[in-house]
């Protein structure tokens, strides 16, 4: 008998827009002048427009769409990094949001210090990092560089390290909702990629709700049964991965002919 599924994420008709200043008026005097002379005209950019979504435990959902379609903004709304203008977002369970922008690794720190720093930023305490330290190092295959500063690493080494720290911190936190934004690109060489893929699969089969944003459609197709296509902040379609990816191709073709 299939165990009862818990509703982890419920997004109800959520919208989000950003105000984009026409002039760069971030200065104190400029702001003061604006108050005196009336507000500077601003343009609004609708990044998410009436999106609704429900996600259950054990579900892996892929989100695809062109650049600027609102994928990352949607994840940040779910992670409560952004506040929505209207609608409601409810999440139930321990949530982790990871994006691929380097995790805050500090170039001038050694690998050891970076592991402790990022571990702390991701919510582990010192003893917990101590326990995981050896695993993180050996998984990244950088045993000989523990006291080397990161700026001397090649980009592949940095990728391996940041992947290894992320995955081990996640293993410790055991999130029930995992939001991944372009995280699993090509990190390291082929043998490392195999290892990394195996680790990711562990997560995807762990019963957590995973939402994966990626431009790599092979990854999406492989891991997500359900895929959502976003365009200009709206849900274009939500369904079986094969169908949605085909619609995405059609959308791209159409925009090319226009």
């Amino acid at each position: 008998m299939e165990s009862e599924k818990i509703k982890r994420i419920n997004i109800d008709n959520v919208s989000k827009s950003f105000k984009i200043g026409c002039k760069n008026a971030d200065g104190f005097l400029a702001n003061l002048l604006n108050i005196i002379s009336g507000k500077e005209p601003q343009r609004t950019l609708q990044v998410i427009d009436g999106v609704s979504l429900e996600a259950f435990s054990g579900e892996n959902i892929g989100i695809i769409g062109r650049n600027g379609s609102g994928k990352s903004s949607l994840l940040r709304l779910i992670a409560k990094i952004y506040n929505c203008d209207s609608g409601q977002i409810m999440t139930q369970g321990n949530l982790a949001y990871i994006d691929g922008y380097g995790l805050g690794l500090k170039q001038k720190l050694t690998m050891r210090d970076n592991i402790y720093l990022v571990g702390l930023l991701m919510g582990l305490d010192k003893n917990e990092i101590n326990k995981r330290f050896d695993e993180i190092v050996s998984f990244s295959e950088l045993d000989n560089f523990i006291d080397t500063k990161i700026y001397q690493f090649s980009s592949g080494m940095v990728n391996r390290l940041s992947f290894s720290i992320t995955i081990h911190c996640l293993e410790h936190n055991k999130p029930e909702i995992l939001l991944l934004d372009e995280v699993f690109g090509a990190s390291g060489d082929l043998s490392f990629q195999d290892k990394a893929t195996a680790k990711i699969e562990e997560f995807l089969n762990s019963g957590a709700t995973v939402i994966l944003v990626s431009h790599n459609l092979n990854i999406i197709k492989k891991y997500c049964k359900r895929v959502i296509l976003l365009d200009k902040g709206k849900t274009i379609c939500d369904g079986d991965s094969e169908d949605v990816i085909n619609t995405y191709f059609e959308l791209i073709k159409k925009s090319k002919t226009i």
Binding site: F28, I81, Y82, G102, G104, L109, M122, G123
Partner: protein, 273 residues
């Protein structure tokens, strides 16, 4: 029945308080770790970084000592050098800590956008902790002078208590300045002007009497209360006036309440800027 619902409410309240304390502990722990890393980076980058921090008040100190005879000769105070040093160093700490607060969100938006564990409060506290680490070097300088002038070091035992209330005040203002800094990228220029005014308005290098009109103005200046207490503790180890202690605590509490409410109102927009 009534007692049952009351005890339920009590348990609920207790759990809520426990959760808040846990949250606060996490904020302090993470911000302290972040501050430590940033501080080590600053020192390792160049040891001169910390020397610059000390040189600023030290240069001011030397200039005032040099011109004192000609320009401000009406100041008669025993151990004027310590009096001046405490003033210059406290003002410098106040200035640096708040100037860090103005930029702290802008220079760390990548953390806010990328890691959902990092809240804006953590960044503000980390900035403040970093300034506090630098202040230890100030204290070394003060202790050196106290030893040189054979002053009793007992006051140093109570200094942390006084410093704690000063930190509460600075934390409150930091929350306000961090918010202003997000929307006004050049607010540091305004802060530079304000600190210039503070330097001449606060009795940093001169003494004020109760009859002076500047005394009335200083009653609205929290730095004045801090200096008054710090000097009586460190210079003569006497009990500071109660009204000065009350003044510093009231200013601190008001700053913290106002700061937190302003910060909480706007903090959800910080990651969007």
């Amino acid at each position: 029945m009534f007692f049952c619902s009351l005890s339920k409410q009590y348990v609920y309240l207790l759990n809520m308080i426990k959760a808040q304390i846990k949250k606060l502990q996490k904020i302090i722990k993470t911000s302290f770790a972040l501050a430590k890393v940033n501080f080590v980076l600053r020192i390792e980058g160049s040891y001169l970084g910390i020397i610059w921090y000390i040189l600023n008040p030290l240069a001011m100190f030397l200039i005032i000592i040099l011109i004192k005879k000609h320009a401000i000769s009406n100041v008669y105070i025993k151990n004027y050098e310590i009096y001046l040093l405490i003033g210059v160093i406290s003002l410098n700490f106040f200035k640096q800590a708040l100037s860090t607060a103005i930029n702290v969100i802008n220079s760390n938006t990548n953390y806010l956008k990328s890691i959902n564990n990092i809240t804006p409060e953590i960044l503000v506290m980390a900035g403040l902790f970093e300034s506090i680490f630098s202040h230890f070097f100030d204290l070394i300088l003060i202790v050196g002078f106290m030893l040189f002038y054979h002053l009793p070091l007992l006051g140093l035992i109570l200094y942390p208590v006084l410093f704690f209330f000063f930190i509460i005040l600075i934390l409150g203002i930091s929350f306000i300045f961090a918010t202003i800094g997000v929307y006004n990228k050049d607010f540091n220029n305004v802060w530079l002007i304000i600190t210039q005014i503070l330097f001449f308005l606060t009795p940093v290098f001169y003494v004020i009497k109760k009859v002076d009109y500047i005394y009335i103005i200083n009653l609205f200046n929290p730095l004045f209360y801090f200096l008054l207490i710090a000097r009586s503790l460190l210079m003569d180890f006497t009990m500071p006036p109660i009204w000065a202690m009350a003044g510093l605590i009231i200013f601190g509490a008001v700053a913290l309440v106002v700061g937190l409410s302003v910060f909480n109102k706007y903090k959800h927009e910080f990651s969007e800027r």
